[in-house]
Symmetry: C2
Subunit: 237 residues, 2 copies
Amino acid sequence: MRYAVLGTGIVGRTLAGRLSGLGHEVVVGTRDPATTLARTGAGPMGTPPYAAWQAGHPGIRLAAFAEAARDGEVLVNATAGQVSIAALTGADAGHLDGKLLIDVANPLDFSRGFPPGLDPVDRDSLGELIQRTFPGLRVVKTLNTMNCAVMVDPGRVAGEHHVFLSGDDADAKKSVRELLNSFGWAESAVLDLGGIETARGVEMVLPLWLRLMGTLGHTDFNFHLQGAEGSGSWGGH
Amino acid sequence: MRYAVLGTGIVGRTLAGRLSGLGHEVVVGTRDPATTLARTGAGPMGTPPYAAWQAGHPGIRLAAFAEAARDGEVLVNATAGQVSIAALTGADAGHLDGKLLIDVANPLDFSRGFPPGLDPVDRDSLGELIQRTFPGLRVVKTLNTMNCAVMVDPGRVAGEHHVFLSGDDADAKKSVRELLNSFGWAESAVLDLGGIETARGVEMVLPLWLRLMGTLGHTDFNFHLQGAEGSGSWGGH
């Protein structure tokens, strides 16, 4: 499969690296490749410059959003939530219609400092906003409730823990389930919440997640829904 | 200990019954006891009328908010979140200053139907709003992330799962820990998130919780934070 991962931060790199390691063809999308490659300083979270990362991943191509979206059969939104719509608008020139978009982003709003708020929030979500703005995409929200290292390697967290799915297209969710399985997520760990409007619930977990990160002092944790096992309601949704 | 449980719904009744069963003196607070006792129909969720419940709990007195708050050494806010401030304003005539208030409410806003939104949300929370409005109270937010039957009997959910604490007063949180222990919560199951501003995170879990209730078709579930055990950061905060 050919994946276009939109976003060059640590989340995009982690997903791109994992997908490439699984044998997929991966192109990373950015607003302006020349600008991205010219950066030499560390990012806000101490992330090394993209060029340094790319040197270690020569098989992963960097392209403008539109070119990446054109070449990818499946798109992954790993941009910062506040710029996701702008990024996808740029990508739209590459024809998004009909494609699966896996949305792992959170609409964190740092405009008033830390801790961030969310925008949109409560009666809306980034997942819904993307689906509404680009109705031709088949949007599946997933993986946004954990650190990116856990996304692609759930075994980093000992014991059972869960990943959620939200989306309106059953076939799209089935494809995402298979991808999650290939990352190491057991079938029983994937919890289908329903339509894309359920993205509200998983995005609104972020304030608690950020607080837990601060209290624990690490990011190798995740939520496990205790008491879900007996219901038998999860499989195959 | 003398507890005043504010709110006559299923959450208030469950907490009042459990506290009474543990040997505490319990008074339940309501806006107007005569009105509450005169109701004969079931509540919106099929809850039996209060008078029927009280008949089975003759040791638990019903009183107006101010009288309940005056008599209780510890207060429990189990009112609907949208009326909590009004209820506490009524209770304030009974002198709230210096008392511990255990806030288990969620600011669910059903004004636009189901699923409810939250108000306040994102940059504020009900827990903070209560603390700000009644600075003499020592507010501890806890237990709001689960069904009330699980609050008072964590063994209903098999395996390990967690309850959170948010509050500015260390002694108040210590008292709440002890109460939680008496409900059956192990010391390791109680996760102290920090100050009352962390109530934002736990209140914003509600949209996901409500969705899970719908998908699972039951309420005997709770969140377990997988990966927290190794940190050693929780105890004694």
